[in-house]
């Protein structure tokens, strides 16, 4: 018997597996194409009607979609969006950056260990819940003290700033922690104190990451729908008064979604508004990606230095200390504080307290809001409430079918999104070669993640419901949500895969495994806890999401769905409608529903945390 030549023959090609993984990775391209197709088609429809013209749209100062003489000028919606996003950034950027600086530079390990997850959990509060806070907790307060109208921009600004602050904190914190430790040591060794080190060395070095966090927060604020729809109102007018009602781009689309706008050009206008919104958020996101690419930001000229350059005649006289002369003095003792040293100490103390306060303010504010919803909602929770249908008589109303609808919805969503997302991540990190295709797919996923959720709603309505004929069904709703959570699953799975040491792959390849065999047997099993954590957080996200399914949920349905083509209701949508209800009893029902939703979210986050901690404890590498 002759020996087989080990170098002859063909190893398994796994064409089918690799093909399926590639298809998964391409789904984000399909989703992006659907978004662009939907927006382009709807926008063209709108401009081809007699009532609309492109010139009016981009230059008009009136947005009156209804009535005999409709007028479609985008500026009132843009000013509303700018007012709310700008106002929210004005509050959230200083608070968020300060909080991040405090967390990374001054907080003790223990404080950090408690606060970082708290902030992450608070960032998971659904936007419809923030809408409840804005309309029913904050707005009454602003009406009383500042003579504002019932719907006003200010209350929306406050909750949107609370929503984007965690984004700024967490991305800025990452950027600040990425500044090498040696940089801090250099500064301290030169006699700078902690605050001088943080403000003059660390913060400028982390500048590009902080800019990226602000741009991402901007994209989020511009795309935010539910809180703004609930609190800011539905009158589009061109002004920047935070005490009055404004309508944003997103709120108009939501108004279309809830059926408050008659069919015809006014509804088609929603697509043109959607296109505008898409362009704005896409730009902010692209700029943010560009900013993160720079590792360290160059320090810009300080304001003082810039003024000095422009107007050399202006001098900023500050007392000058001649260090050389001082050192020469016979009685010089470097360890004795000078008046300047005393001033530096008190400045450090002052700033430390200030930035600690911004952290307390951000977290404390959200906790107060949560407390208000507990006191309003807790009394209403009973077994009847959990099983009855949403009756129009408040004392009989419950959320039985609504909970079942939500469970169906997220189950189907994950059924679609999880295999696709994990497959895409495996393809991108393990099976594909770096190159143009890989970069393109990654970029597509990054951009998909930044698309405002309400735009997914337009796609769901247009593509799944109308073109594919799935109607207002669970299938439409879950496909829409699946598109939205897909990027999140891809990103978390990639992180999990990348955390598996490279040596595992090399070890398997070195004993003759194919790439897929190495990944299948040695990488994926070790990445399972990370993938599961990401999946659970995606479920939490899908469970609280309102805007994308606003178009397709069936209000007033008394029964739970029994199949994928049935209509459905979901908890966040129910919260939205009860919050808008004028009577107190229904608003309390909204609070009770919020509590149920929040409890579910806390349980999901708890499970994710548990999996993560257990995996970390067990990991031997």
């Amino acid at each position: 018997m002759s020996e087989a030549n080990p170098l002859e023959g063909v190893s398994p090609r796994h064409n089918f597996v690799i093909g399926s993984l590639f298809v998964s990775a391409s789904l984000s391209v399909v989703a992006s194409a659907l978004i662009i197709y939907t927006l382009a088609d709807g926008t063209l429809d709108f401009f081809s009607s007699d009532e609309a013209s492109l010139l009016e749209f981009i230059s008009g100062r009136d947005w009156v979609p209804n009535g005999r003489n409709p007028s479609f000028g985008i500026w009132p919606l843009l000013s509303g969006t700018a007012l709310i996003a700008g106002g929210a950034l004005l509050i959230a950027v200083p608070l968020g950056v300060s909080a991040a600086l405090y967390l990374s530079e001054f907080a003790s390990q223990r404080t950090r260990k408690i606060l970082k997850p708290t902030i992450e959990i608070l960032s998971g509060i659904p936007s419809v819940v923030h809408g409840f806070f804005a309309l029913l907790v904050i707005s009454p307060f602003i009406q009383d003290y500042f003579d504002a109208t019932y719907f006003n921009a200010a209350s929306a600004i406050i909750v949107v700033s609370a929503m984007i602050m965690p984004i700024i904190v967490s991305i800025s914190d990452d950027a600040i922690r990425a500044v090498p430790r040696e940089m801090r040591e250099a500064s301290l060794a030169l006699g700078a104190n902690r605050w001088e080190t943080a403000s003059r060395v660390v913060l400028p070095a982390a500048r590009s990451g902080i800019v990226a966090s602000v741009l991402l927060a901007l994209a989020r604020a511009v795309g935010e729908t539910m809180a703004v729809t609930l609190a800011a109102g539905s009158v589009a007018s061109l002004h920047l008064d935070p005490l009055r009602e404004v309508q944003t781009l997103t709120a108009y689309i939501a108004q279309v979604a809830t059926g408050d706008i008659p069919p015809g050009p006014a509804t088609d206008a929603g697509f043109a508004v959607g296109s505008t919104l898409f362009v704005l958020t896409y730009t902010a996101n692209t700029l943010a990606i560009g900013a993160t690419k720079k590792r360290f930001g160059r320090k810009p000229l300080s304001i003082r230095a810039s003024i000095g350059k422009l107007f050399p005649s202006i001098s900023f006289s500050r007392s000058n200390i001649d260090i050389k002369e001082m050192r020469k003095a016979s009685n010089y003792d470097p360890l004795l504080p000078t008046p300047l040293d005393m001033k530096r100490r008190s400045m450090e103390k002052l700033w430390r307290r200030t930035i600690a306060f911004s952290l307390v303010l951000g977290v404390g504010f959200l906790l107060i809001l949560l407390q208000s919803v507990i006191s309003a909602g807790a009394p209403g929770i009973s077994s009847n409430f959990l099983t009855n249908y949403p009756s129009s008589r408040s004392h009989l109303a419950g959320i039985g079918p609504v909970i079942i609808g939500s469970v169906w919805l997220i189950t189907l969503t994950m059924l679609f999104a999880l295999p696709a997302g994990v497959g895409a991540a495996v393809y991108l990190t393990e099976m594909s070669r770096p190159g143009k295709i890989n970069i393109f797919l990654r970029r597509t996923i990054q951009n998909l993640a930044a698309v405002p959720s309400i735009i997914f709603g337009l796609v769901g309505l247009f593509v799944f419901s109308r073109i594919l004929g799935f109607g207002l069904s669970l299938l439409t709703g879950s496909l829409t949500l699946a598109m939205m959570v897909l990027p999140m699953i891809v990103v978390t799975t990639e992180e999990a895969l990348l955390s598996v040491p490279k040596g595992f792959r090399d070890g398997a390849l070195a004993v003759g495994a194919t790439r897929w065999q190495a990944v299948r047997h040695h990488v994926i099993p070790n990445a399972i806890p990370g993938i599961a954590t990401g999946a659970i957080l995606s479920i939490a996200r899908a469970l609280g999401e309102t805007a994308p399914i606003l178009f397709v949920a069936s209000l007033f349905s008394k029964t739970a769905p029994t199949g994928i083509f049935d209509g459905f209701m979901a908890m966040p949508i129910q919260i939205f409608f009860w919050t808008r209800h004028p009577s107190q009893e229904f608003q309390d029902l909204a609070a009770s529903t919020i509590l149920v939703l929040l409890i579910l979210l806390i349980i999901l986050n708890g499970i994710a945390l548990l999996i993560r901690n257990r995996a970390e404890a067990r990991r031997s590498w």
């Binding site: 390990q109 500064s187 030169l190 006699g191 060395v201 000058n320 260090i323």
Partner: protein
């Protein structure tokens, strides 16, 4: 005056949590000289160096016992502000850690913090420090360039200039040439020899030949303990301890 500026270490123990990195060390460091700490990795020489300007305070869980006195003061006492101490006892690190700002601003950093605002005086101090660090001729025409545009050796000399600018009495150097090529290393060694007339230099080095070339005194540490300390000449030619001789002749470490 001479006597007063001597740094006296007695019974110094430094712990990270429970583990002792420096064990009960006593020694006297003379001013206007170069002292080198040598020993195998993990022997505690960097930890010992970082005790002199209380950089160990910046590491969580690090505690120091014993005493270090300088100019009649107990440096480990709570009443000493490490921030003030570090302007007199400055430090240069293993990796050139320049700030991502201009060459000029790197050197100006410590001066501005100490309250020097007059542009003419700043310019003069910065030129002097860069000259002291033998970097002036190479950078005088591009002071506003990004410090990252310099080569590794130039960056390390910029770090030295930055530390010299605040006119410290003592300069600590933690393996300042370990990341540099031989030519850059030679330049920095030359510099250290010149600088000792201005500042007391205490350095950690991995290279025994470097210690032999430039230091006046050498301390050999092993597993956190000070095995032998004395004139460099003596340590390298006629050590008292067998262990020192073995390490220097390359039989371990």
């Amino acid at each position: 005056m001479e006597k007063e500026n001597t740094i006296s270490v007695s019974n110094l123990t430094v712990k990270y949590g429970e583990s002792e990195a420096v064990k009960d060390i006593s020694m006297e460091l003379k001013s206007e000289s170069v002292t080198a700490f040598i020993g195998p990795s993990g022997c505690g020489k960097s930890t010992l160096l970082r005790a002199f300007n209380r950089m160990n305070d910046e590491i969580d869980g690090c505690t120091m016992d014993g005493s270090i006195t300088w100019m009649g003061k107990e440096l480990l006492s709570d009443t000493i502000d490490p921030v003030l101490l570090r302007r007199a006892v400055s430090m240069v690190f293993q990796k050139a850690n320049v700030f991502p700002i201009s060459i000029y601003e790197n050197v100006a950093f410590g001066l501005r913090i100490q309250g020097m605002t007059n542009p003419t005086e700043l310019d003069a101090s910065i030129e002097e420090s860069l000259r002291d660090a033998a970097l002036w001729d190479e950078v005088k025409d591009r002071l506003q360039d990004d410090a990252y545009s310099l080569s590794g050796g130039q960056q390390q000399r910029l770090c030295i200039a930055r530390a010299l600018a605040i006119r410290p009495s003592v300069l600590l150097m933690d393996e300042p040439t370990s990341a540099l090529d031989p030519i850059a290393t030679a330049k920095i060694e030359e510099l250290i020899k010149k600088l000792k007339s201005k500042v007391t230099i205490v350095m950690v080095t991995h290279s025994m030949s470097q210690a032999a070339r430039i230091s006046d005194y050498t301390a050999f540490l092993y597993l956190g303990e000070l095995i032998e300390f004395g004139d460099t000449e003596k340590i390298f030619n006629d050590p008292d301890e067998e262990l020192t001789g073995q390490y220097i002749s390359g039989r371990f470490g």
